[in-house]
Amino acid sequence: MFDLDLRSRKPIYEQLVDKFKELIINDVLQIGEQLPSVRTLAGQLTINPNTIQKAYRELEMQGYIYSIKGKGSFVNESPDAANSEKLKRIKKDLEKLLSEALYLGMTVKELHAFILEIEKSVGGGHIDD
């Protein structure tokens, strides 16, 4: 399904969370689709099942997936609440980064051009979220 970088400094559960988010955001995993069970994934990736459980819990808390007892975990419909929560966090991070960039001498114009560039690479700017 995917591979993890076991040599990376980033904790494995964080890598898992990020990988799944990426898959969900890019519609590789579609709404209602079942995520691999902890057992399967542990066997496939040779990582601790508790780590996977932790990643799934985190994803559930952030609203990306939901779980049904005895059935497994599924991709959530539209994580509105989670999105706004996430947006708040991103804004805070951006604020930090932008003020740093400004401090280091980047101009507003440069930043603007930069944003447009990113928008293009993400996909034309027509993301209906």
Partner: protein, 299 residues
Amino acid sequence: MIEVKNVSKTLDNMDVLTNVNFAVKRGSIYGLLGSNGAGKTTLLKLVTGILLQDEGDILISHQSVFENPPVKNRIVFIADTLYYFPQYTVKQMANFYRSVYSTWDEKRYEKLKDVFEIDESKKVQKFSKGMQRQVAFWLSFSAMPEILVLDEPIDGLDPVMRRKIKNLIVQDVADRGMTVLISSHNLREIEDICDHIGILHKGEMILEKDLDDLKSDIHKIQVAFKGKTPENLFGNLRVLYKEERGSVLLCIVAGDQEMLTEHFTRSNPVIYDMLPLTLEEIFIYEMGDAGYAIKNILV
């Protein structure tokens, strides 16, 4: 599942373990780390009921282990030096294990034959070190233990076999909630499968934590300032290590990521990098803090 409470042990008038406490939950993979001679093997021998502690309690599912066969039936221990009966073949060893462990699963034994590809009619003691270790794992996995205790398990195994063994461990943990206690000083090897870590030093447990918490609780930071480094930059942070490399200050600091970022950016650094630590680095710096530092030896 495993509870070790205030355990002390003296061997040959040496205090090997003093007041050790830790607990391993069911279905967890616990990594026991430690400097050479820290008492890891002794601790494992106590947990498996081979030795009796002088003080304290060792409980497995609330029962004491020492001289308690029903509890021991649920534990398999792979020691760092393996022992096989002289002249015994793999098959004969398997028969012995079957007679000892009531949980022995013959089907599993047959299935694992394909994994290890070892001739079961050969004498075990004639095998190489790595092969003998494979036999140990083969027999252990067939015994279907609730608790698997491993002392330096990956020594002498090739990378493919390591991966296979780890995969089998992880599957057993996922499938039947097996509890695993691993001691090692090869940190890279256990970093990817453990969820809890305990660091033992000179017979004392100096650190015991969830691995992810541990990793997110300690950071490597590189900062540089225009001009001079501000005085009192660290405030009351716990600094485990610091080093100046030219104008860049490299330090290992304990604390939460956000809190640290806020703390450091307040003094407006020109460069600010934060990296999570590898387990190896955590080990080295925590041990350094406990007075077991790396000293470059000049001969």
